[in-house]
């Protein structure tokens, strides 16, 4: 058990494929309801991530091609993780989560839950919202394990 990962607040998670289709949206400790429809909010989040990625590349003062990792407001932190195949994970947490921990968590979700339950499942169609119950329950259990003190 990873001691440094427990005791955090997870608000919500968005998963997108390379075309921008929202494959999954999950909510845990979210307190402010969305003022937009689910579809509109998913699209806005994807648009914002795309814009932030492009913003970071353009404004980067270092010469190497840079990548967007996260942002913080005064109330929450948004962590971003993109795989080599263009699958994007967007996780909103409380402010105390460090970037290495967040990356670790999202990588685990990708390899141990998404790949195992969705990619390796011949009955899960590509490019469509995830309907697998196993994915949902495993993800839920994982998120709950993070928030236990």
């Amino acid at each position: 058990p990873d001691k440094h990962l427990v005791g955090m607040t997870v608000y919500n998670l968005y998963v997108y494929d390379r075309n921008g289709t929202c494959l999954y949206y999950g909510e845990w400790k979210r307190t402010r309801p969305s003022h937009l429809s689910r579809e509109e909010e998913n699209k806005l989040m994807y648009g914002m991530m795309s814009s932030l990625k492009s913003f970071v590349v353009k404004i980067s003062p270092t010469e190497s091609k840079d990548k967007f990792v996260s942002y913080r407001t005064n109330s929450y932190k948004l962590n971003f993780y993109e795989t080599a195949t263009g699958v994007k994970f967007v996780l909103a947490t409380d402010l105390n989560v460090g970037n290495p921990s967040a990356r670790d968590i999202l990588h685990k979700i990708y390899t141990q839950i998404y790949i195992e339950c969705v990619v390796k499942n011949p009955l899960c169609p590509h490019g469509q919202p995830i309907s697998s119950d196993l994915f949902k329950s495993k993800l839920d259990a994982f998120m709950r394990s993070l928030t236990i003190f």
């Binding site: 402010r32 914002m48 814009s51 913003f55 270092t62 010469e63 190497s64 840079d66 970037n99």
Partner: protein, 230 residues
């Protein structure tokens, strides 16, 4: 010896409408570090160049160098579109088979003022969207934006003015720097009778004091790191 670990790259000020009213580069990153050189053995080259402004950009043919500017051929600099040594247009040089093999150097294009204005207004919008997408109530906009090699701090005043500072990842003390910049803005821009609100800031004293504050912050941050290592 700490080299280039605690660096403040630049300071930007964006007004409440999203327009860039001030920009200052404090440290330009080492431009030779990012130059990519490649040897092309035979004519013709697989690359398609696009003339943009007075530069030659790689438009097509090389995924890694897409969008980069041609800055050198065989140890000679390319200034604009011309080989600085001979005055010959670079594209003409590359169209003659007898000049091959040839070594081409590329670098990322420098930001133009228009680019900066666009980025300032892009950030202004993204800042607001962060509040809209917040899973908790009463969130501010983006205060810290983190990338793999730099981070950007933002302080929005009560009147909607934003101070942005780009720093290296491990830089500390940005909050106090941002508030100090606000003070300097109040003292040397707002109180300047020749300065109009929300217009580009062209006040000497503002520039001077801003540079001093940024220098101090860099030193303080380096000192803090030295202390923690010692």
């Amino acid at each position: 010896r700490i080299t280039a670990v605690m660096v403040i790259y630049s300071v930007w000020v964006v007004n409440k409408a999203g327009s860039l009213i001030y920009h200052s580069d404090h440290t330009l990153s080492d431009s030779t570090a990012g130059e990519m050189e490649k040897l092309y053995a035979t004519h013709p080259i697989d690359l398609v160049f696009k003339p943009e402004g007075d530069r030659l950009l790689v438009q097509y043919g090389d995924k890694e160098r897409n969008g980069m500017v041609l800055v050198g051929i065989n140890d000679n600099a390319v200034v604009g579109r011309i080989l600085s040594k001979t005055g010959q247009p670079a594209l003409d040089f590359l169209s003659e088979p007898r000049n091959f093999p040839v070594r081409l150097r590329f670098a990322r294009p420098r930001l133009t003022t228009n680019d900066r204005i666009m980025l300032g207004s892009m950030f202004h919008s993204l800042y607001a969207i962060a509040t809209r997408l917040s899973p908790v109530s009463r969130s501010s906009g983006i205060e810290v934006l983190e990338a793999e090699n730099f981070k950007m701090h933002c302080f929005q005043t009560l009147t909607g003015l934003k101070f942005l500072v780009l720093t290296s990842l491990r830089h500390t003390g940005c909050d106090s720097l941002l508030r100090k910049l606000y003070e300097i803005y109040s003292d040397y821009a707002l109180k300047n009778p020749f300065y109009s609100l929300d217009m580009p800031i062209r006040c000497e004293l503002f520039d001077e004091h801003l540079k001093k504050a940024v220098d101090q912050s860099e030193k303080a941050s380096a000192y803090a790191v030295n202390q923690s290592i010692a």
